[in-house]
Structure formats: C-alpha cells, structure tokens
Symmetry: C2
Subunit: 281 residues, 2 copies
C-alpha cells in the first residue's frame, strides 16, 4: 500500500486519483476473498466496494486528515470504512424491494450480478467490516461513525428520497470531519470543517439531481431521468434547472468561505468543492 503523503503542490486531479488508488488498495486488503464456500459473498462485497468510482468520500477523509498532519495509514482505514458504508447503502437501496435499480457505476447492480440474497449479505458484510475498520483505526472515529449511521438508518419507506439525501449529506459531512476527529482538532477548526461539509453535501446532491436531468448514462453509469420517472422530489423538480444550478454555485462559494481560516493549506478541499458542482459523473 502506497503511504506517500501528497506533495505540497499536488494538483487536485492528481490528489483525487492517488486517494482512489490508495483507498482501493486498502479495500482490497480488507476484503480478501476466503477460499471455499464463503467466497461468493466476498466477491459481491468486492464487486460493489471496488466498482469504478471517484472515491470522493475517501478523498475528503484524506484531505481533512492531511490538513491536520494525521498519518495517512490511520486516515486510510477510515477512508476505506466510509467507502464500505457508502457501498453497503447503495447495495441495499438498489434491491428489488427498495429502489429496484439495475445499473450502478456503469455495471449491473450487485443483486443483478449475483442474486438478492447475496446482495443482502454483501451489504451486511460491508457495514460490519466498515465498523470493524473504523473502530480499529481509531475508537473515537468508530464510535462517531456508528452514531452517524444509527441516526440515519431511521428512514421510512415513504421517505426514502429524503433519507437518501440525508445519508448522502451525512456521510460526506462525516468524511470531511473525520480528519479533525482523528487529530483531536480544536473546536473552532472542527466547526469550520463541519460548515464546509454541510454546504458541500448539499451542493453534491444538487449536482446529482442536475445530472439526473442533464447527464448522459454513458457518463454517469446509471439510468438518466430515474428520479423523474420515479416521481421523486429533487432540487431540480422543486427549483427548476436554472435556480438549482445557481443554488449549487452559491453553496460551493459558501463552502469555500468556511475554509478561510485554514488559508492555503485547504486548497485541495477548495478544489474539491469546485469539482463537486462541475463534475459530469
């Protein structure tokens, strides 16, 4: 596993790519397929957790940890754990009993590639392994992650859209704060990161809603217009495209303003905010 921290002048695309490589290496080590009968569930866990993706949440963990000089090795455990929680929630949300989605990250969803039972178990396995990883890396982070997930498990079926949104925002927020938690950073710095994360999470969701309307399936790797077809309320269905985009851009500026007290050290996080609203996937 590469443990080289980012060099000072590294570009955002290079840092994002390196974060993805390191996270995938960590995930690969955590999700070794055992020999024998158990292998199928592990294959499904790897299939979903290692599916092509931006690995934005792991990047946010590593970038916030970098801000406070936290060791990469420790932050990487938490980054991998957060990606596993993300993968778990996608697997269960895609199930026929839930959103019944066939396509995710340009590939068949877990239950289409394997079967419903394997997908249920793979999600359970990823959630549990994530807790083990985050709790092992730093008890404090493990505890806070558990609190976070517990709080957002409580969705009603009729409120799935609202919950998905809450989960997306909450997991992104936790990813941003994780570095500060690991570093036992002073209160005001942690609050600043939380403010950044809150605005970033909303901007991310707006961008998702815009991509559902304006994106292409080839780029996003999932069906376009799915939210509209399902009659889901989104930022775009409520605000319209123009106002939704303006709102997203405002949120990105707000997010960056929260980082002022970190001065130049937070440049990667600023770039991440710009990326979130301009991304095509």
């Amino acid at each position: 596993m590469t443990e080289t921290p980012w060099s000072d002048g590294i570009s955002f695309p290079a840092a994002l790519e390196q974060a993805a490589r390191m996270t995938d290496a960590a995930l690969g080590k955590l999700l070794v397929v055992p020999p024998g009968l158990e292998s199928r569930v592990y294959q499904a866990m790897r299939y979903s957790a290692l599916a092509p993706g931006k690995r934005l949440r792991p990047f946010l963990v590593l970038a916030s940890a970098h801000l406070f000089g936290v060791a990469h090795r420790c932050a990487l455990q938490v980054a991998a754990a957060i990606e596993m929680v993300h993968a778990y929630s996608m697997i269960h949300d895609d199930l026929p009993a839930m959103d019944n989605s066939d396509l995710r990250r340009g590939r068949p969803t877990c239950h289409k590639q394997f079967d419903d039972a394997t997908a249920i178990l793979a999600g359970d396995g990823l959630l549990t392994t994530a807790f083990a990883g985050a709790a092992g890396a730093a008890g404090m982070v493990g505890g806070q992650m558990i609190d976070l997930i517990a709080e957002h498990q409580t969705l009603d079926i009729g409120a799935i859209t609202r919950l998905q949104r809450m989960k997306t925002g909450a997991l992104i927020a936790f990813a941003c704060e994780a570095g500060a938690i690991l570093a036992k950073a002073p209160h005001e710095l942690r609050t600043a990161l939380r403010g950044y994360a809150h605005d970033l999470g909303l901007a991310y969701q707006i961008a998702d809603d815009l991509l559902d309307v304006e994106g292409s399936a080839a780029e996003t790797g999932k069906p376009v217009g799915a939210d509209i077809a399902a009659g889901k309320a989104t930022f775009v269905s409520i605000l319209g495209v123009t106002r939704a985009r303006a709102q997203g851009e405002l949120l990105v500026r707000q997010a960056m303003a929260h980082l002022d007290l970190f001065e130049q050290r937070a440049e990667l996080l600023r770039e991440a905010a710009r990326f979130v609203i301009t991304r095509r996937t």
Copy 2:
C-alpha cells in the same frame, strides 16, 4: 429500568425471567419510535427485537457478568446489543430472498408483518444500533462484537445452514464471554467460559434440530419440519434422533465441567446448560 442484581439464591427460572424483563426494558429505551415518517422502520425494529422469546443470550451476558461482579447497568447494554444482533440476523435470514420464512416466535415474520423493504432496513437499523450500544457500553466489548459479526458475515448462499449454525454458536459464545471481557477477567477464567460456551452453543443447536423434528408449532412458534422440508443437513439428519440427543446430553455435561473452577458461583450457568437441552421452545 430495574437494576436490582439477582439475589444469591435466586432460581434459574426466576433469574431468566428477570433477565428477560430487564433486557426488554433496555431494548424499549434504545428503540424509541420517533414521531413522523421514520416511525415505520422503528416499529419494525421493535416488533422483531421485542417479540416474545426466552432472551437466553441476554441472560448469559448477565449471568457471566454477575460471576465477576460487573455492574448490571453495563452488562445490560451489552445484553440488549446481543439481542439486537440476534434479531437483525433473524429478520434478514427470514426474507424471501433468503429462507423465505413466514412464521417466527409464533408471529408473522418482519417482512410479512411490514414489507420486504422495511424488513431490510429494520435489520440494518438493529445491527447498527447494536454496535452503538455495545461500543457505548464498553469500547472493548464493542470492538470484539464487531470482530465476531464480521467473521461470521462471510457466508455463501449455499452454505447458509452451516453459517446459521456458526452464527448461533458464535453469538452464544460471545454472550457467555462478554462478562469476562467487561471484567477484564484473568485468561484462565475467560478460557473456561469459552469452553462452556462452545459446548453450550452446540448443545443448543442440537436441541433446535431435535425440536424441528419432535416439537410442536404451538410450542416453538415456527413451522415444524422446516429443516427437513428444505433438505437441510442437521445433527438429527446426520446422527438420528437417539444419537443426537445423547450427543447433546454429553455436551451439556462437558459444558458444566468447564465451570468447576467457579464453584457455586456458576450455578445459574449450570442450570442454563441443563435448560438448553431440555427446553420445549
């Protein structure tokens, strides 16, 4: 919540009943139904976790904690967490994609009473809340529970029977050891409890297999002959009724022998071993 520890001469049935009452009270507090849209999933979590049952696993936690003088309040958190993990695994195992069971503890299974999506989410919620509870009560216990569950999530669909068995045994074993972990008990005492737990878990599974053949649905609250109908390999299908019962009784004697070094203090755990093989539900 009643915090009265068991009096010294308390009978096993009375101690078991009190453990169940205390555990249910703790579960009730942990699983408060929030107002609004989220309430349905919480209702499903309560429906399954608070379904009528012996609460043997919580009893084992409280009895092993009692052995070392661990505070009831702390042990109770772990007892409730273990019952939630048990309930989570039952909910997901009963799903149509898995065992497709309609009846559990004499009532419709979670997905029959609610729906598949709610049952998936209720299981996820119970698993997560269990981690929060066990991690909150005592970080060490939380970490060990996570390791335990992570290890036994790795079942292949074709090996569900084997896994169920592993899960049953592993969760019972962890319940027995939890008191020793909470008390930071010396190595040899913990090893003794683990030996007891291992034999108890196997005896429990043999009794389950015997009840599937000889029990009545009215008593067990689930369909009789389900294992045979599903073509599952059980101790009874392999050994036959007579040898399976003899094996169960041997295991109970072995389990009790492991408790010798606790002398009279382990009397409740000895009674629990006798109960496991003679129970009718």
